[in-house]
């Protein structure tokens, strides 16, 4: 009996181990990747790397224009995508939920989320760079990224709005508040931590995007930082792409250092999102 038991348990254990391996292998690959990039990148990383301009000599080249360009992009993207996205979410959640137009918009947003990012680049090139004559500017890049993250901002904002209990809205109406007063003074303050966290995560995604910026025309070699929204620009991932594509080993090391800077920036953003959410939630409780 016990002999039969152990025999029938053998494949069960093997299967269990297999499923654990399926989780462990990708995570180990990620760990391996991070260790390799960091070890290679740290040999080059230093204050001068962060404050220098690109150069033909790998050991003088730095990431300053890329870093500043990425910060410009992030700020402008936030300015465009957040009002639009939160506004759309309020419209969908708080107004006309049942209307046909809302259903159409909803399906449309789900579809937009599945459009490859490089197609947004083509949209940016055709619409912002050419038709609206923005040129290959940091503004055109930010508009493109804003449309790219818009579906995500709408979805996370809707999620946040949905967590606000109906009873709070009803209480506000009972006190004579209008719809917009209710939204502005009751619903939004409640949904604010969720919206903020989602927005930061969306921006963290935008900062890592490369393909749409390549199409919109981010430059790979500039020796200045943007001084306005109409200036040409580069970005962290673009600079990394440029370095990794070169045959010389020293530039590939620069790429690794650039990746460390990029990942660190994203880590800070994600950390900020989690910290803000926890703090704001605690404050309210």
């Amino acid at each position: 009996m016990s002999d039969h038991d152990t025999r029938s348990r053998m494949p069960e254990r093997a299967f269990f181990a297999l499923t654990i391996a399926a989780v462990a292998v990708p995570l180990l690959v990620l760990l391996f990747l991070l260790v390799i990039v960091t070890r290679s990148g740290l040999t080059r990383l230093g204050w001068d790397f962060v404050t220098s301009y690109p150069s033909r000599h790998a050991d003088h080249a730095g990431i300053l224009p890329g870093l500043v360009g990425s910060l410009w992009l992030m700020g402008l993207t936030a300015l465009i995508a957040l009002p639009l996205g939160v506004g759309a979410a309020i419209h969908l959640e708080e107004y006309g939920k049942q209307s046909r137009l809302s259903r159409l918009i909803e399906i449309n947003i789900a579809n937009l989320a599945g459009v490859p990012s490089i197609v947004y680049g083509l949209l940016g090139l055709g619409l912002f760079v050419r038709t609206l004559h923005m040129g290959r500017s940091v503004l055109a890049g930010a508009c493109t990224l804003a449309l790219l993250v818009l579906p995500m901002v709408v979805m996370v904002s809707r999620e946040a709005l949905r967590t606000v209990p109906m009873s709070l809205r009803e209480a506000a109406y009972a006190l004579g508040a209008t719809r917009w007063q209710t939204i502005r003074q009751v619903v939004l303050p409640q949904a604010y931590p969720g919206i903020l966290t989602g927005a930061i995560l969306a921006l963290a995604r935008a900062i890592g995007e490369t393909a749409p910026l390549v199409v919109v025309g981010a430059l790979t070699y500039i020796t200045f930082v943007p001084d306005g929204v109409d200036a040409p620009f580069t970005a962290l991932p673009i600079q990394i792409f440029n370095w990794v594509s070169r045959p010389q080993r020293a530039f590939v090391v620069n790429a690794a250092a650039g990746i460390v800077v990029l990942l660190a920036t994203m880590l800070v953003l994600n950390g900020a999102a989690i910290y803000l959410r926890n703090r704001l939630q605690k404050k309210r409780a």
Binding site: I90, V115, L125, G126, P237
Partner: protein
């Protein structure tokens, strides 16, 4: 009494209706602005369609659909121009196929682990950990494929080129694996508990129950997750642009350098092709094909998932 009541109400009602009217005008304005925000998402879709269609029609008028579909070479930058899109499609298919070959077994098994076998405490950290994989910028995976994976594979895969579809596909598989894992886990969790209990009551143990009852019952949802993952692989750009090469040729050998549809768009964008030329238009043609392909897959997946949800 009614008289005194009237004197109390009368003075206040007049300004109140005015206030109310002003308020309702404000309300309407707010609703209009919010509606415009929602409409922006629709305009994005229209913008994509218009931009892609305009340039594609320009191309088709000049070259014709026949040359796009019935030529086997893609050489828009050479003096002897050919516009057969199939070499790019082949590159996209090969890299995506390799990626799915990696992502499907890993994702499916990981989903079974999370949904059926792990304790809630383990699942609570495994799920976000896998999501980190999907959040790493693709440029980082591209670096990894070119600088680490290709040299590693070259030590035991004979005839592997410096740029090749194999390592790009393998790394892409790791990247999209969490997508399959997460969506499949949802599908497995949606299978009613009664089905599992019935299997146990018939004497089945845990693993046969999972493999013969739960997984088949969730097949619709699993298929939907795989299609979404393929769509993501087809649209993925930086990994293939960095590691798979820029040589469009009609082949299915993953050891060779290939150019995907996305990588071609990047290649042209990096050069200085003037707007309005035929070369410039080709990126919109390839973009249109890419858009239609991924849209078809996304819609199919959405419908499959919807039908699956109705059944469970």
């Amino acid at each position: 009494m009614p008289a005194s009541n009237e004197t109390l109400v009368m003075p206040t009602t007049l300004p109140q209706t005015e206030l109310r009217r002003a308020r309702s005008r404000g309300e309407q304005a707010v609703e209009l602005v919010l509606g415009a925000c929602a409409l922006a998402t629709v305009l994005t879709t229209l913008g994509i369609l218009l931009v892609l269609a305009a340039e594609t029609f320009g191309f088709l008028r000049e070259v014709g659909l026949g040359k796009l579909l019935f030529d086997t070479q893609w050489t828009p930058l050479f003096s002897d121009k050919h516009f057969g899109i199939w070499p790019l499609v082949a590159g996209t298919c090969v890299t995506s196929f390799v990626a799915i070959l990696v992502a499907l077994p890993l994702g499916l098994l990981a989903a079974i682990f999370m949904s059926e076998l792990a304790t809630p405490r383990t699942r609570a950290w495994v799920k976000p950990a896998l999501e980190v994989l999907a959040g790493v910028p693709t440029i980082v995976y591209g670096y990894f494929a070119l600088v680490v994976v290709t040299p590693l594979l070259q030590s035991f895969v004979p005839g592997l080129a410096g740029f090749n579809a194999l390592s790009a596909g393998l790394v892409m598989g790791i990247m999209i694996m969490p997508l399959i894992a997460s969506l499949t886990e949802d599908a497995l969790s949606a299978v009613p508990k009664s089905l599992r209990e019935a299997a146990y009551a018939l004497g089945a143990s845990k693993v046969p129950t999972i493999l013969r009852v739960v997984v088949p019952a969730a097949m619709g949802g699993i298929a939907a997750s795989v299609i979404i993952a393929v769509s993501r692989a087809v649209g993925e750009t930086m990994i293939v642009a960095i590691a798979a090469g820029q040589e469009p040729h009609l082949s299915l050998d993953p050891r060779t350098a290939m150019e995907t549809m996305t990588a071609y768009i990047v290649q042209i964008s990096l050069g200085d092709t003037p707007a309005g030329t035929l070369e410039y238009r080709t990126i919109f043609v390839v973009g249109s094909a890419l858009f239609l392909l991924t849209l078809a897959m996304n819609v199919t997946s959405y419908k499959l998932a919807k039908r699956f949800r109705r059944q469970t």
